[in-house]
């Protein structure tokens, strides 16, 4: 398998700030790769390093085996879908989409033909004459996508592309993006702070914090087997258990994570682990309850229909040993 993008010990400092700190990374060709992290975690800087808007302070970047340092963005066969879409306000849709072809000297007729095809690909046929200002947010997003795809890039970078859309449109676009990526076979690198988006779309996820990759793995890995407290906390809302608690109930003094949906709750104080219900939130398909156990506040998610105990009642908790995931470090 060919490596599309590789980072070798890459750092990017802005003055004293280490936006990206000694990152190693290999993204495979044809992969849908997500960079997930809170704002300021370095994920967007990584994207900009691939696009060529930033240069690494140290380290080495390769794109399809070719050295990327010192290569300006306009000479990289890599295109970006910007967070604010960055559509050219003075050009209509067809000229926006055909921009990349125009600067490469493709004739007008040919340019319009290819751009029209790209617009069909993103399901906006016949929108060529409109101005960006006349489009809805979702339509602008599609135009930005078509514009980035028209150059047939080897890597497509997407910077929080769905952030500005409302929930329903976002879910629809997630599916479409995924389908488009499979169809075109282009490597997608996707930056987001929304863990749900990363989990549902990506083949692999890199979780960023403080300029470093905290964990790199499949969505399954990252969700079920978080490497650290940060990942457990950021990806989903795991119960993070301190070493003394784990030692009492699993025999090892290490930090561990426990998914809320893996916790079984029975009424009454008969079990090995008991606690008191502190709050109950009805979520539609499920009910989420907070339970105070040995001074710790744990969460459990119960499927709808299960009778959940009321606030203040005593409950006992249980879980399968396999669901209690011991973490590597304490970071």
């Amino acid at each position: 398998m060919t490596t599309a993008v590789s980072f070798q010990n890459v750092s990017r400092h802005f003055g004293p700030v280490r936006a990206v700190d000694r990152v190693d990374l290999a993204i495979a060709e044809g992969e849908f790769f997500a960079m997930l992290g809170p704002s300021g975690s370095g994920k967007t800087t990584c994207l900009r390093l691939i696009a060529g808007f930033e240069q690494p302070t140290a380290g080495h970047i390769e794109i399809f085996g070719e050295t990327a340092e010192g290569v300006p963005p306009y000479r990289r066969n890599v295109n970006t879908v910007f967070q604010d879409y960055a559509l050219f306000p003075h050009l209509n849709v067809i000229d926006n989409v055909g921009y990349g072809l125009m600067v490469r000297g493709v004739g007008k007729a040919e340019r319009h033909r290819i751009a029209a095809e790209a617009l069909e690909l993103v399901q906006l046929p016949g929108y060529g004459e409109r101005r960006p200002g006349q489009l809805s947010g979702g339509q602008r997003q599609r135009v930005a996508l078509a514009r980035a795809l028209v150059n047939k890039p080897r890597v497509l970078l997407l910077d929080e592309p769905l952030g500005a859309l409302d929930l329903k449109l976002r879910e629809q676009m997630q599916e479409e993006l995924r389908a488009l990526q499979k169809r075109l076979g282009i490597t997608f690198v996707f930056v987001t702070h929304d863990q749900g988006e990363a989990l549902s779309m990506a083949d692999r996820i890199a979780v960023f914090n403080d300029g470093r990759i905290m964990q790199l793995g499949t969505p399954e890995d990252v969700y079920r087997r978080p490497a650290s407290r940060f990942v457990a906390d950021f990806v989903g809302s795991s119960n993070v258990l301190p070493p003394d608690f784990v030692e009492r109930h699993a025999g090892t003094a290490r930090w561990a994570s426990l998914r809320p949906e893996a916790v079984r709750v029975e009424p009454g104080a008969a079990g090995a682990v008991t606690g008191t219900v502190a709050a109950r939130n009805f979520l539609g398909a499920s009910t989420r309850i907070a339970i105070v156990v040995e001074g710790l506040r744990l969460h459990a998610v119960l499927p709808a229909g299960r009778v959940a105990s009321g606030e203040g009642e005593a409950v006992s908790l249980a879980w399968d040993a396999a669901d209690l995931h011991l973490m590597e470090d304490e970071g």
């Binding site: 794109i63 070719e66 000479r75 990289r76 066969n77 080897r154």
Partner: protein
């Protein structure tokens, strides 16, 4: 998607391609190239001239030969403190302050109406209504007032038509600010100053008022404030930075003007006229230079104060 496509594309070639690559690699070079002409022009020609002028204020003029003595001295600055020169400075500062206050009072209703109530076509009209006088010819505006204030002009005519000539005479009889006619009195000078610099007050005030959310005013009246209280406790404090920003212009422009008091007003000098006279007929460049330092220093303090009031954000 052809597998043969490279991830790094060749440059577009040619002189421009190579130059573009160079400028991309060295953004500092690009910045330097962009900044060099304006910085050379303003930094060398303009600032150079200013400093040369300031330097001359430390020279003095030989009273016998009338030639400039190129020795550093504070003697010329000492001359500023002669009673006649102090009078000029005081007169200019008072006039600038009065004009500024009057401009704020006259400008506020216009700015407030434009910001709060004018809509659509009226809004454009109000905006242009302040813009056009701002940009239209300074001299033509002064000339218009020469026509208005002339003895045979429209103002005297209007007073006569209304049988109010006695009122005008009464006003002109007031010592100091009055005079033989409006066109040779401080009142006349004041009116022209006010007229010419008023738009500079309207626009920033209007801009500041436009940034006040209407919900704030509603909140104030919701909490039981009478319109007058709302005006004093909410609107005025929020509009103040804009008005201070406008006052920078009205104050500075009045302080340095030498044409208006020369055309409309008594023969008593203002700073601008003193500078003009000293450098021209008197040939006393050092004293002229020292005089120019006065508005610079006053404006320095003024800007410092304005900055503390947040007026720079309203500019």
């Amino acid at each position: 998607m052809s597998a043969a496509a490279h991830a790094v594309l060749p440059g577009r070639g040619g002189v421009f391609g190579a130059l573009a690559d160079l400028l991309w690699r060295r953004p500092g070079v690009l910045l330097f190239v962009m900044l060099l002409p304006p910085v050379l022009w303003l930094g060398v020609i303009y600032l150079g001239s200013l400093f040369a002028l300031l330097a001359q204020s430390f020279f003095s003029i030989d009273e016998f030969s009338g030639l400039i003595r190129h020795e550093l001295t504070l003697k010329t600055y000492g001359e500023l403190f002669r009673p006649s020169n102090l009078d000029i400075i005081l007169r200019s500062v008072i006039m600038a302050a009065v004009v500024t206050l009057a401009a704020a009072v006259v400008a506020f209703p216009i700015a407030y109406y434009a910001a709060r109530y004018a809509r659509g076509k009226w809004r454009v009209l109000f905006y242009l209504g302040a813009m056009l006088p701002l940009w239209s010819s300074y001299l033509v505006k002064v000339y218009a007032w020469k026509l208005i204030l002339a003895k045979e002009g429209i103002l005297n005519w209007a007073f006569a038509q209304l049988h109010l000539t006695w009122l005008l005479d009464l006003v002109l009889a007031i010592p100091v600010i009055g005079g033989n006619s409006l066109s040779v009195s401080y009142i006349g000078t004041f009116l022209v100053f006010l007229y010419v610099w008023l738009p500079f007050m309207i626009l920033p005030t209007q801009a500041a008022l436009e940034r006040v959310p209407v919900s704030l005013i509603e909140a104030s009246s919701d909490l039981g404030a009478a319109p007058r209280q709302t005006f004093r406790t909410v609107l005025l404090p929020l509009a103040l930075p804009g008005m201070v920003a406008g006052s920078i212009f009205t104050f500075s422009l009045t302080l340095g003007d030498y044409i208006i008091p020369q055309i409309v007003g008594s023969s008593r000098l203002f700073i601008g006229q003193a500078v003009y006279a000293q450098q021209g007929t008197a040939g006393n460049i050092p004293l002229a230079a020292a005089f120019t330092v006065v508005p610079i220093v006053i404006m320095g303090f003024y800007l410092w104060g304005a900055r503390r009031m947040g007026a720079f954000d309203a500019l």
